[in-house]
Structure formats: C-alpha cells, structure tokens
Symmetry: C2
C-alpha cells in the first residue's frame, strides 16, 4: 500500500531485522518454549511463510537474533566509549558501560537461549560457537576501554573476572530491579580493579 | 514387600525427599517446561497421586526442591569449612568452596527455575522470597568463612561481588566445562580479595 516502494532487497533486509527484534522481545518475555517461528512472525507482522524463508527453524531464528543483538550492543559500546572520561573515574565509567550489556531485555533473551541450550544438545553446539565469539570480542573491547595490557600477569584474569561479575550481576537483576545494590558493588569493584591494575598484581 | 516396615511418617518423608531430588535432576536435564509433577513422580518411582499429595502443583514441587537443595548445600558448605586452612591460602580455599555452590546440577536446576520465573509473574514472587533468603544465608556464611567484619566500609560490597562473580562463573560453566579458566579467575580473585580485605579499601 506504500506509495514509496522499497527495492526488494531493502524490504527483505527490513523484514529480517523486524523478525530478529521480535525474536528478542519474545524470548525475553515468554522464554524459549513460547518463541516459535510462528509466534515471532505474528509479533513482527510478517507472514509465517516469509519468516520461514528467512529462518527455516526456531534455532536459526533465535540464534541469529541473539548474535545480531550482541553485535549491535558491542557496536553501541564502542560508540559510547568515545565519551568516557580519562583519568580517575574512567574505570568505574567503563565497568558501568560494560554492565549495561548484561542488564535489560537483550541479556534476558540471551539467558533464555543459554538455559534452553543447556538442555538441548543440538542447540548447545550452536550457542557455544556464538558465545565463544561474543566472549572474545567483549573481552577485547573491555581491554581496550580499560587501557590495560594483557601481557602483564594477572591482567587477563582480572578482565575476565570483570565480565564474569557483570554476568552474575545481570543474572541477579533478572527477577527484580537490583540496580541500587549493583551500583554499590560496581563502585567497590572499580576500586579493587584500579588497585589491582596499577599494582600489576 | 519389605520385611522391615518403615513407620508411615518416615515413609512419607522418604517419598518427599525422593520427589525433591528427582525434581532437581529433571529440572537440570530438561528444564522447567519438561518438569511436570507427573514426569518427576515417574522419575522418583512415586505414583502421581502420592506426588500430588505432597506437592499439588509444579510450582510447589520445584520451588520446594530448589529450597531444599539450597539448604543442603549451605549445610554441606559449613561442614566442609571446618577443614579449611587458616592463614595464607584460606581466602582461595573459601572462594573455591563457595564456587562449588554455583557449579553442577543443583545450580543448573536453580537457573532453570530462575529463568522460568522471569517469564511467569506468579512463579517470580515465590522465587524472589526463596532467593532473598538463600542470598542472605550465603552472604552470612561467606562472611564467616572469610573471617571479615562487615562494619568495615567496602567489606559488604566485596563479599557481595564475590557471590555475584561466583554466579557469573557458574553461568559460564552451564554450557561447557569451564573449570580450567575458572580456576585461574578464582586465583586472581583471591589475590584481589586479600589485597582489598587487608587494606580495608
């Protein structure tokens, strides 16, 4: 009905993107068992046939969705990082930024996928590939933003601990708003991180 | 068929316990959607009617199971703590002990429940009560084992960060054996913890 007609390729890309975003919303709200291709297609306002053309199975749709949003989040993290302060306060600003990746609906969706994969061999293999890549990239971005050198003993593990802590805090936030407690823990963590990264211990 | 007959009360308690243990196994293996009272009853070798007498709904069964094993784990943690070394090395031994609570099938079961609760209002309320209690108790045990004083600024948040980190590491371990990486992160964490708790920062 649109007067301006999109070229077919753009239309196809837009359909795909709507499906990916609807899959994330759906996963975060009703979990894996409720997120079938048909349900996601309806939410996206896309016909079931068109949805299946893009994503033949739920595994394809959901893993693509989580990968897509992970990439988007990393890109956004890099953008926001441009405005970070240098000097004192930077560490805390960095870990708050990183923590944002582990709160909100996108992390909610990822955790549903993760947990579904733990009970499903075939899905697990796909999710492991995805998570290994996302983990490496997030680690690299965190190193860059903190401005630290991984060849110094302990630095690699300290940055890993930061990401593991961020994930644990994200999990604690899943059932109820945990932001006040989280803010205090992150402040303390920033202090410990500064002490550890400057002493090189 | 047993020659020695158990008193009715003991039999009832044993049935209940078999159901709780089967619920944990079931939850860890097939997740929330597959863990109905009927499925768990069958796994436990208990009639569906008897199972429903103990636990009228799946919510009752699964939340009771997670609460039961959380209590068991805490009791076990206190037992094991008796043999912990004092002096150097104690911090690492404590956090390794704490970390054990977040790996293995019990944590797998709890996370399935947790994630199911995030998409189910009624279940969420029950799980929040449960988690608040378990969280407080785990925090208290961690304080005791580390031998630290929460009235010192920063100590409370440092201990909370330890438990959040443990949860994040547990989550990372859900899909594949992550124990080598985890051991390194925990060693580094023990060093940072010792530095932070002795400096009081």
């Amino acid at each position: 009905m649109d007067v301006v007609r999109e070229p077919r390729q753009d239309r196809s890309r837009a359909t795909r993107q709507r499906l990916l975003e609807a899959a994330i919303e759906c996963l975060a709200e009703v979990g894996w068992s409720g997120s079938t291709v048909a349900v996601v297609a309806e939410r996206a306002g896309v016909s079931r046939g068109a949805a299946q053309h893009h994503f033949p199975t739920r595994e394809d749709l959901v893993t693509s969705a989580v990968e897509y949003v992970s990439q988007e989040r990393l890109a956004r993290l890099r953008e926001l990082a441009v405005d970070l302060p240098s000097g004192p306060g930077r560490t805390q600003a960095v870990i708050e930024l990183v923590e944002h990746m582990y709160t909100g609906p996108v992390f909610g969706a990822a955790i549903h996928l993760w947990v579904a994969a733990s009970a499903d061999e075939r899905l697990r293999e796909r999710v492991l590939v995805l998570e290994a890549r996302a983990g490496r990239e997030t680690h690299r971005v965190a190193l860059e933003l903190l401005g630290v050198d991984e060849s110094v003993p302990g630095v690699r593990e300290t940055v890993q601990a930061t990401l593991d802590l961020a994930r644990g805090l994200g999990l604690a936030n899943l059932l109820s708003d945990d932001s006040r407690r989280r803010a205090k823990v992150l402040r303390q963590w920033a202090r410990m991180l500064d002490a550890s990264l400057t002493s090189g211990s």
